[in-house]
């Protein structure tokens, strides 16, 4: 079944059909690329580089209008900024006011914008941005100007839970996984590495931790948000009460209104484990999700276990997992896939895509049943997103 949202005005589409095209948006450490195909997804045309040499952390096309494309950039040692295109990258306009914290005696400085998320369909032109260090920002004008959003940036508890830059990921602690309930624009989730998963029911005025059931590294107190490291959290568009999470300690599922995360990664093969960065969900089936496991043993190589890369999928909400490696290298492929570098498209069957830190872009047009390489020799891939147009 294909889903087509009336909210999109028919411009960005979610179902397959004649004349539709899919574009894969690839953000890398040294620029951005767009890969275009028709809905059959057999032949791809590369468009790029855009912003060659600039660090592009995320590249997202607004599904509500099908044309607004935002790129989060931080160029070498220059301050971070955002660029906006309304013609699929033929021209770009820099944001007038990129995300920046309020000036204050103990004020922080945005190192880069890490995560971009369109707001609710009922709020056209509104976007959220998550930054490093952890901050939440909102734009009301399609990404041209941004302002600090909600209490989360300055609340003393949240500031404490965020820890310091020493507590964060190597390229900086970050706020990510900004999720908007498609039924309610005031219902938001965000995640922080470090700092845990948090929920707002009042449009971001207040947030509360959502951590029950999640493990933390042995020896630390799981009741303290600061010790939680959610790598990636996804909300199922077909069942917004279901969340999946790839965490530093495993793979979890949460079914609301319950508040207890359930570890579903325990059913992964023991030799593979359930450590990784990304997790993605099926556009129409809330029981189906994909992960890209990586080696989390000893010193945490964070590479494909045994040098044999595979995507694992569940089609029963995590009761079991299936290895999906047809077309991928059988050995000596020590891949790392970052948390934003895996995604799906909304076509039927769904496409699944991932990009490696070694610059390879892989795609499956049959939900992981078989993989093919779209591109090699790109810079380190930071993020992969898709959009369906036409």
């Amino acid at each position: 079944m294909a889903i087509t949202s009336k909210k999109t005005g028919g411009r960005a589409r979610t179902g397959a059909g004649p004349g539709r095209r899919v574009v894969v948006l690839v953000a890398t450490r040294k620029g951005a690329w767009l890969y275009h195909a028709d809905a059959g997804r057999r032949s791809w045309r590369a468009d790029g580089p855009h912003f060659l040499g600039q660090i592009i952390h995320h590249l997202v096309l607004d599904p509500r209008d099908g044309k607004t494309l935002l790129a989060a950039a931080s160029t070498g040692h220059l301050g971070p900024t955002l660029f906006r295109s309304t013609n699929l990258g033929r021209s770009w306009q820099e944001a007038d006011r990129p995300p920046a914290f309020a000036k204050a005696p103990d004020g922080r400085s945005v190192k880069h914008t890490f995560w971009l998320a369109p707001a609710h369909p009922d709020e056209p032109g509104a976007w959220y941005a998550g930054t490093s260090p952890q901050g939440l920002f909102r734009s009301e004008d399609g990404g041209l100007s941004w302002a600090p959003f909600s209490c989360i940036n300055d609340d003393p508890d949240y500031r404490r839970w965020m820890g310091t830059e020493q507590d964060g990921t190597p390229d900086g602690p970050k706020l990510h996984s900004i999720l908007v309930d498609p039924r309610d624009p005031a219902h938001l989730y965000v995640a922080m590495s470090g700092g845990g998963v948090h929920e707002s029911l009042d449009g971001g005025r207040t947030f509360k931790p959502l951590l029950d059931g999640l493990d933390v590294v042995e020896g630390f107190d799981a009741s303290q948000p600061t010790f939680h490291d959610p790598h990636c959290v996804r909300l199922c568009p077909s069942r917004p009460d279901r969340l999946y999470q790839q965490n530093h300690c495993g793979i979890y599922r949460l079914d609301r209104p319950g508040g207890q995360w359930v570890r579903i990664g325990n059913t992964m093969p023991k030799r593979v484990g359930d450590i990784g960065f990304p997790i993605v969900v099926h556009p129409r089936d809330a029981d189906t999700a994909w992960v890209f496991p990586m080696d989390g043993t000893s010193v945490w190589p964070r590479t494909s276990p045994g040098g044999k890369p595979a995507v694992y999928a569940t089609s029963n909400a995590g009761r079991s997992w299936q290895r999906l490696d047809a077309g991928l290298p059988e050995q000596q492929a020590w891949w790392t896939v970052k948390r934003q570098a895996m995604t799906t498209d909304p076509l039927d069957p769904a496409g699944v895509y991932f990009g490696t830190t070694s610059g390879e872009l892989w795609a499956s047009r049959n939900e992981g049943g078989r993989w093919s390489c779209l591109a090699r020799h790109l810079p380190e891939i930071y993020a992969v997103e898709t959009a369906v147009l036409g």
Binding site: T75, G76, H77, L78, G79, E94, P98, A100, S109
Partner: protein, 85 residues
Amino acid sequence: MNVLIPSALHSYTRHSQVEAGGADLAELLSNLEARYPGIRFRVLDEQDAIRPHIRFFVNGEQVRELSYPLHAGDELVIVQALSGG
């Protein structure tokens, strides 16, 4: 005064050297911002701190304070270190 612009900021100025003025470094950067929107935030952060690896030299001397006074005829060089790979 003459201001030398690093190549990473030529997308704003379109030139490697521009003329700009100001009573001090802060005012000069504000004036540059008015002419080349966005350029200030690339070299200063929101707390008015000079970004890491960005340096300002006035008449060959490194300047670390935005309140540093400037005079007609001074030359300002904005440097962006090219470290990293």
